[in-house]
């Protein structure tokens, strides 16, 4: 969180530099079946973010010691491609990617019916091809679409959106420039049918009131993203 309060990112009418209102989302496009050799896949464009997700499985889990007798194991790899960022991202071990892989796995395990596939493994690969702000939300949302595309039973899809704060004003779905001057970031993973949560992170500085506003923006935005996800899964490409 940079927090340089002297750059004006929102005008007097509450409009943002890219023309969005405080609660508006960037443009979103979803496409399934983009990795022909996978059991399920999804490509999601969200602003200038682009993620590709492939699913392999359920398949035999090996080596044996990772098998669970009463459920499948879910493995999640979140990674940013070297050309996804302005300065090249060096391949290899990265603590941030490791943490995002883990919390994404924690979120997806909360909805996938793992107990249907004892001793097997479901592999979820999230690759960020182009990064703006909010790649973890794009990755998690796209992963739940890809799992649905692979026909893996889930209690619900997961919609992940983030809100934040710039110039002391709470807004939804920060783009890259807003994020550079942003003062907080609250990404959430929401089950659209119940409003329950499976994913939550936050950093920065939010008063309790600002926090509630950001929470509400996310809840509202989740419904909109959910519509696009359903469209992508049931017919033409979502947009």
């Amino acid at each position: 969180m940079g927090g340089y309060g002297d750059v004006r990112m929102i005008d007097d009418n509450g409009m943002r530099m890219d023309g969005r209102g405080p609660g508006d989302l960037r443009e979103i496009f979803i496409e399934t079946g983009v990795v022909p050799v996978a059991d399920g896949s999804c490509r999601m464009i969200w602003g200038t973010n682009e993620a590709i997700v492939s699913i392999y499985g359920p398949m035999e889990a090996h080596p044996r010691k990772i098998q669970r007798q009463d459920s499948a194991v879910l493995a999640v790899e979140y990674n940013m491609a070297p050309f996804s960022t302005t300065d090249r991202m060096r391949p290899g071990f990265n603590r941030r990617s490791k943490e995002i892989s883990k919390v994404t796995k924690d979120a997806l395990e909360s909805v996938v019916l793992l107990e249907l596939y004892p001793r097997s493994k479901i592999q979820v690969n999230i690759e960020i091809i182009s990064a703006e702000a909010g790649t973890r939300c794009v990755g998690l949302t796209a992963a739940s679409v890809a799992l649905a595309d692979a026909g893996i039973p889930m209690t619900d899809l997961v919609v992940s959106v983030a809100s934040g704060k710039i110039n002391d004003i709470v807004v939804c779905d920060l783009n890259k420039e807003e994020d550079n001057y942003g003062e907080a970031d609250l990404p959430m993973g929401i089950l659209p049918n119940t409003g329950e949560l499976v994913f939550l992170q936050m950093d920065g500085d939010l008063s309790q009131e600002e926090f509630k506003q950001a929470w509400d923006y996310n809840m509202n935005a989740a419904s909109k993203v959910h519509e696009i996800m359903k469209k992508a899964l049931t017919g033409g490409d979502g947009e």
Binding site: S110, L200, G204
Partner: protein, 259 residues
Amino acid sequence: MSVPLVPKLLRAHLRELANDNKRLDDRGQWDSRNLEIEHSVLPRAEGSAKVRIGDTIVYAGVKFQIMTPYEDRPNQGGLMCSAEVRPLAGRKYEPGPPSAESIELGRVVDRGIRESGCIDVDSLCIIPGEKAWQVILDLFAVSDDGNLFDAFAIAGIVALKQAIIPGERFGVGEDSKLEVNGTPLMCSYHKVGGRFVYDATFREELGGDERIHITLGDNGNVHSLQKGLKGIFTTSEFEEIMGHALDRTKEIREIINTL
């Protein structure tokens, strides 16, 4: 009291207890274990603390290094926070590269302190563009009986508040106190037997579901959140937790401020 060791039976046992609104150690849902805080315990560290919560024991130590400021931030020093949970602290920990769990642990504690802005990185500059202080906060677990997150967060901020910048040893002026503006504190909640509890023990963690970590600043502002592990929760569950965290961080802050 005999506690089942098999996770499945342990889970069932914890659910029964929860139904009677009880916990393994007879605490209430929102009660903390005994909390002890000591400072200046590590002779080689420039600031240090030891925190004990029940049978969970941790150290925090602050060291300083001279760094070259980043090109785009010539007037800033740095803060680095590193958490190591080595085999010393429990039979489940193995040597080797850090696990995803311990990476998460370190990063969540780090964010709580960093994002509160309590360390003014501009104040760490020695010569703009050339030399600045890097503050390194090392968190070290001695005994893990649950809730390492809160223990680390408390030990970390106490160690920072005690820290002396070793200007003389590095030949850049006199020794001086590290400026720390505020006391960000974390409260952690685990879902055990279907409901959230505060300050879970190792066994409650073992037989529980998701956990939520909240870091709040002096004025009750939120600086960091994290949900970990498999599990689903509702907005109202979260609001209840947040309410408790607002009270409890105040209590702990008072203890720290009178050390």
